[in-house]
Symmetry: C2
Subunit: 476 residues, 2 copies
């Protein structure tokens, strides 16, 4: 086992140039799912993966998701690529998820080089759209499998891959596929692993065991049937935009404290044990301030910023639909405005309770205003938080794998955002999910000059092999 | 004199069919100034007027305003048409303003008939884009002059016309022309008359002697350099949108009372005499509620609605730039948001004082929040209110003219909006301005199915002749 891993690690190091060439090849396919003019490239990317997996002796099933309506244009959805390798009942089965579509990118957005041409910089950065999100990771899994085959090393686990092409555009159709295939393609899954997030910092690898949920609300205030001229009607009528502004001004304090009564009641208490875990994490408010290019950080203590991101709820006001939003000036009284805000939720907040408390609060704040305008408030969408035990065997295997590759204990992290597919896999497959990132915090996944560091890419591919080995050794 | 007017009135009645045909001809030219693909029709309309005025023995000068940049396209501006008729030093000189461009209109917007084809309905409505705003009026003045010539009646005043083609798109270049030509083309102007507003109701003619001004403010709150993801940063950073919402929520009460200290200090006191004038006006809150299709009217008393529109300031929040404004949901923390609001001003508020009080108040409200976000607040534009004495000879003449045509005293009205050209003419020409509307309150000037009633159109043309006669008789 150890000998095999040593051989594998050595081979990975020696294959660096080839692995980078492979990454160059996939980055060159501009698989931007949000742009219907690039949809054929997303599909091309799906076919590239199909061919690659067939070449690795996988069984492959391309799931056709039908068409999508984009701005009135009927556009085919890219397939979900399912693949299967190994059916040994003596081995554990791992389902691996990733996505092959990428965010939009234009040189004119501020890239220093053509975004779909991978550039290797002297400092080790491999720059290109999708390098870290999520082409580096999905390619990594395939290169890991290929390396095993080249070396004649038995793959110690059964593998099930699930690669989608719509992650950056709402993962249309994916949940249904996962649920439908839970007892078919994914049958027998013992563990799930997703490599689609990032280290907490830039130097220490991590395992991620928690995500916040999100309840998204719309608050509609309506008045006259049509927009009015503020010269003619200003002072004469009650104005929806004024009402909405007042309602939304009472949702959350400047310091992030949510003003909805009882909203914190179900939040898990911070134990001394949990509190201790924050003390050694590689997170500095000063880095955050540098990244944001502004000191707008609420908390003075580094740990408090992480606690706010990971284990406390937050409320953000995103915008308003129906009001004047362009540059310049317009003397309109908007007839109907819809405020948008959402609440990030944490263990053990019940989504239905969040919804009820929030809607009741908005209604009561509106009632206080005693206005003739009308209110409608509803929950537009809701996704639960995810929280796994960092002591689960899946995490133990991940932790040991990190120790083997990097020689350190992983940072145990949570994230403030949500990765909805995590919950879907956990619930549909009834198997533990491990989030095992390849990239670093500063990779700029959705930004200009997205990169993955050569170090992270190569060590990440080693990590995948080590993870398989450690999962396999759990059975022993 | 009276005999001439009687002859004129009779001729106008007999010319109804011809006058409607003439209106049909000008409505058919889709002179939409906001649409660059229709710009040639605006210019065509200007040339139509030039030809018409030359045919009436006017001296005509077409002022070229150069080009305009519309969405990156260089588009020629339509000319200001100046015309002059009569130079008799024994006669008074009237400058008449109007505009020959119109609002956009598509059948699909909800018109019951093709908007650029005039339709005469059984109830007397003449439906077509521009029928009332402002092609009916400008054509009316020309038909009035033509009728005098046909009847061999001496025109009792010297006339100066100023017809622009950009009123619906910001009157680009017009102010400079008026100021430049004040001592040239408009030299010797005794009175100015603008026919580009509407009756207070639908049955009684009016003269308009006041307009509100407007000070438009932008409030910018900025935080991080780029938009952030609410999952990652919610609860961690102070959010500009939350700050802006709080600042804007304290600008004005639901009942329209502005919360800026001392903002009402310069508002003219309501005298008993002024208060009496509101009692007989043909304005009903119930009509307003019907028009708005919602009871969102602040005041219970009819007169209070008019006072709020005419003689008290108001503050409206128009919208926010930089926040999420589309339909659907987006989990963004906008990095910089700009709130837009404006204050309608009334006699004797000083625009500079409004600006100072408002900016100081926004700054003090922001300071109370104790936030790390940054504030910038500025006045984007400012236009003074206009207020004329309803006892000025120009208004006396207008009033007598109405009495002659309609047999009633005019309603003396003000408007809540602004017509900036009014102030420009008054200041540049140093002559009193009378607003003498042709159309009724329900003409739907900027809306679908715009119309002018045949009654208003024909009686309006009579009114123009009577007004000239009454101005002439002032000299006697």
């Amino acid at each position: 086992m150890d000998a095999n891993l040593e051989k594998y690690f050595k081979h990975v190091d020696e294959s660096t140039a080839y692995f980078i060439d492979q990454l160059r090849e996939v980055v060159a396919i501009p698989s931007v799912s949000a742009d219907h003019t690039k949809r054929q490239h997303v599909i091309e990317m799906g076919k590239w993966i199909e061919k690659r997996l067939l070449g690795l002796d996988c069984e492959v099933k391309m799931i056709d998701l039908g068409n999508q309506d984009m701005q009135g244009i009927k556009v085919p959805l890219p397939p979900v690529v399912l693949a299967s390798y190994g059916n040994d009942s003596n081995k554990k089965t791992i389902t691996i998820y990733g996505h092959y579509d990428v965010q939009p990118a234009l040189l004119s957005d501020g890239w220093n080089s053509e975004p779909f041409t991978l550039v290797e910089l002297d400092d080790g950065r491999l720059v290109g759209r999708g390098a870290t999100d999520d082409k580096g990771p999905i390619l990594g899994w395939m290169l890991c499998l290929e390396a095993h085959q080249k070396l004649g090393i038995d793959v110690p686990v059964n593998l099930r891959f699930c690669f989608e092409g719509m992650e950056e555009s709402g993962s249309i159709g994916l949940d249904d596929v996962i649920i439908d295939q839970a007892d078919k393609w994914f049958k027998g899954t013992d563990f799930t692993c997703i490599s689609d997030n990032y280290w907490l910092g830039t130097t220490k690898p991590c395992l991620t065991y928690g995500l916040r949920g999100n309840n998204y609300f719309h608050v509609e205030i309506s008045g006259p049937q049509a927009d009015l001229h503020s010269g003619v009607f200003g002072g004469v009528v009650e104005e929806p935009m004024n009402v909405l502004t007042k309602v939304m001004s009472n949702l959350v304090d400047i310091d992030g404290k949510i003003k909805i009564p009882h909203i914190y009641d179900q939040v898990a208490e911070l134990t001394n044990e949990e509190n201790e875990t924050y003390k050694s994490l590689s997170f500095q408010n000063s880095d955050l301030i540098n990244d944001l290019k502004a000191d707008i950080v609420i908390h003075n203590e580094n740990a408090d910023s992480l606690k706010s991101r990971w284990r406390y709820p937050s409320l953000s006001i995103h915008g308003i639909e129906g009001a004047f939003y362009e540059s310049g000036s317009k003397t309109v009284i908007p007839s109907k405005v819809i405020g948008k805000f959402s609440i990030r939720s944490v263990p053990y907040m019940d989504p239905a309770t969040i919804s009820k408390l929030t809607i009741e609060y908005v209604e009561s704040e509106f009632a206080k205003l005693n206005t003739k305008c009308k209110l409608k408030v509803w929950e537009e969408s809701s996704g639960r938080w995810w929280y796994s035990s960092p002591n689960h065997p899946n995490f133990v295997a991940g932790s040991k794998a990190i120790k083997r590759v990097f020689g350190v204990e992983p940072e145990m992290t949570r994230e403030g955002g949500s990765i909805p597919v995590t919950l879907t896999f956990e619930e549909a497959l009834k198997a533990n999910v491990l989030l095992l990132p390849m990239g670093a915090a500063n990779d700029g996944a959705h930004s200009t000059n997205e990169k993955v560091d050569k170090f992270n890419y190569i060590q990440g591919i080693k990590l995948y092999g080590a993870y398989w080995a450690e999962i396999a050794s759990l059975t022993k």
